[in-house]
């Protein structure tokens, strides 16, 4: 019993390098910045008072205590701040926060700010959200409390944090790993319950939808066995993730298969940002430590020395 307890305790609290989390921060903030740049000309349409969904519809009781851009605007209106300034102000601040997060400058403050602002935008534009927003929000939630600024950051260079292995870095990685297992298990089981997925029709339906159509995939109807194989591959990769991502022997293969799945989604359905976010989550959680270079790198002495110099 004691052995089991020790192994469980080690699983969560043994010191680990924060470098995968540093990579996670860099990649997540870059992708979120790209997303903001792409959405910027359309912000008023998607989040504005007189956008496609007026605030009066969005502001119907959301059932939570989170602020929204609409509520912020109501508070700021007496000071002469217009609705459109509010929208651009929130997203402008969000973009600046992402820039700071990317650089790793005052990382914790930047991460918490960005996470809370993203919560506000999610609460304001939830009708136009899709998978990438959910996943980015999970990433920003973890950025807010994991030591993501302890590596590859200005904070580390300036001696505010150290890249030495810590238990909190390991705990953060474990949380991300287990969260990914919940995500894949849930989506895998949901697909397994679906007749469309078991018969191979789901892939056909997804690839033939005009909004996702990158290539003409109508030829797939002539090779239904391929659609069936694709559907079952997705089901097996997703439901098997929770088991096969853990053993050292199966991890590289399962991680590769999962990444291949997301490359396929990006390539065939055009969901590139979503696919990249999923790649970043998977690679940070399970792939980064497979890179031999980072496994060999001595951490604590180097960083402690650097800290004392700065």
């Amino acid at each position: 019993m004691r052995v089991v307890w020790t192994r469980v305790a080690d699983f969560f609290t043994a010191p680990a390098s924060p470098r995968p989390l540093g990579f996670f921060r860099l990649a997540v903030s870059t992708l979120a910045l790209i997303q903001v740049i792409l959405l910027w000309p359309y912000l008023l349409q998607l989040y504005g008072n007189f956008g496609f969904v007026q605030w009066i519809i969005v502001e119907a009781d959301s059932g939570n205590w989170l602020p929204s851009i609409g509520k912020l605007c109501l508070w700021l209106q007496p000071y002469g701040v217009s609705a459109s300034s509010c929208v651009f102000g929130v997203f402008g601040l969000y973009a600046v926060g992402l820039g700071c997060l990317l650089l790793g400058w005052r990382t914790r403050l930047s991460a918490v700010t960005v996470w809370l602002l993203h919560s506000m935008t999610v609460n304001s534009g939830f009708m136009s959200l899709y998978g990438v927003d959910t996943m980015l929000h999970i990433c920003l939630f973890y950025c807010a409390w994991m030591p993501v600024g302890s590596a590859f950051s200005l904070d580390q260079i300036r001696g505010r944090s150290s890249a030495a292995p810590t238990f909190i870095a390991n705990l953060g990685l474990r949380a991300l790993q287990l969260h990914l297992c919940i995500i894949y298990l849930n989506t895998g089981l949901a697909k397994l319950r679906g007749v469309q997925w078991r018969s191979g029709e789901a892939i056909w339906h997804a690839l033939m939808q005009p909004q996702f159509a990158v290539f003409d995939m109508s030829w797939l109807a002539s090779v239904p066995w391929l659609a069936l194989v694709m559907c079952w591959s997705v089901i097996i990769i997703e439901t098997g993730y929770v088991i096969f991502i853990w053993p050292a022997k199966t991890r590289p293969f399962w991680l590769g298969a999962t990444i291949a799945l997301h490359v396929g989604i990006g390539l065939l359905m055009g969901l590139w940002i979503f696919s990249l976010v999923m790649f970043v989550m998977n690679f940070s959680a399970f792939g980064f430590n497979l890179l031999p270079r980072w496994n060999r790198a001595p951490t604590s002495e180097l960083d402690l020395a650097r800290t004392s110099v700065v």
């Binding site: 305790a9 349409q45 705990l171 997925w197 789901a202």
Partner: protein
């Protein structure tokens, strides 16, 4: 240090338990009152506001929408509700699907879209909102010659009120590149 580790691990486990409960048990919806509201807030803050069942258990039908704008001389122009920017287009598609999937919501959403179009096209007197659902045959039906068809699910006409014509409208969503 030991206390910090125990506390940290407990918090992580509690967080993951809540995430699992949110998606598998539908926890926030089942709890009434302030505790329910607190759980819904955490649900949103932690990114569990969707259940991660992408394209499952079934892939739904696609929708498309368009607007027909008519000025006072009867000149009409058609504007498709889509964007060349893929990232924006996915969001448009979500809006169209949310707005047109449930019959009881269609008027509310169409009215909201029409208001945006009338706001960004001061010359328009009337806007007709059209929405269609893509009916895709199965692979076997496709092999037998059936082809995808668009079925009209909504058509609504919205006329600008005359007394609104001379009012100044706050510069809201300007005409985006995808929506000329």
């Amino acid at each position: 240090m030991r206390l910090k580790k125990v506390l940290g691990t407990s918090l992580v486990l509690l967080h993951l338990l809540l995430v699992a409960a949110f998606i598998w048990v539908g926890l926030p919806a089942r709890v009434p009152g302030k505790l329910g509201k607190a759980l819904r807030t955490y649900n949103n803050l932690s990114g569990s506001f969707r259940d991660y069942t992408y394209f499952a258990p079934a892939v739904g039908d696609g929708y498309k929408a368009a607007f027909i704008l008519e000025d006072e001389h009867g000149q009409a122009q058609v504007i498709d509700f889509l964007s060349a920017n893929k990232e924006v287009d996915f969001r448009y598609q979500c809006l169209i699907t949310v707005g047109m999937q449930h019959e009881e919501l269609r008027d509310v959403f169409a009215q909201s879209w029409a208001a945006l179009l009338l706001g960004s096209h001061p010359e328009a007197r009337k806007v007709t909102v059209m929405a269609k659902r893509n009916h895709l045959p199965t692979m076997s039906q496709y092999r037998q010659g059936q082809r995808p068809i668009w079925v009209t699910v909504y058509a609504g006409e919205f006329v600008r009120r005359e007394d609104e014509r001379n009012k100044t409208v706050e510069p809201s969503a300007s005409t985006p590149p995808g929506l000329p």
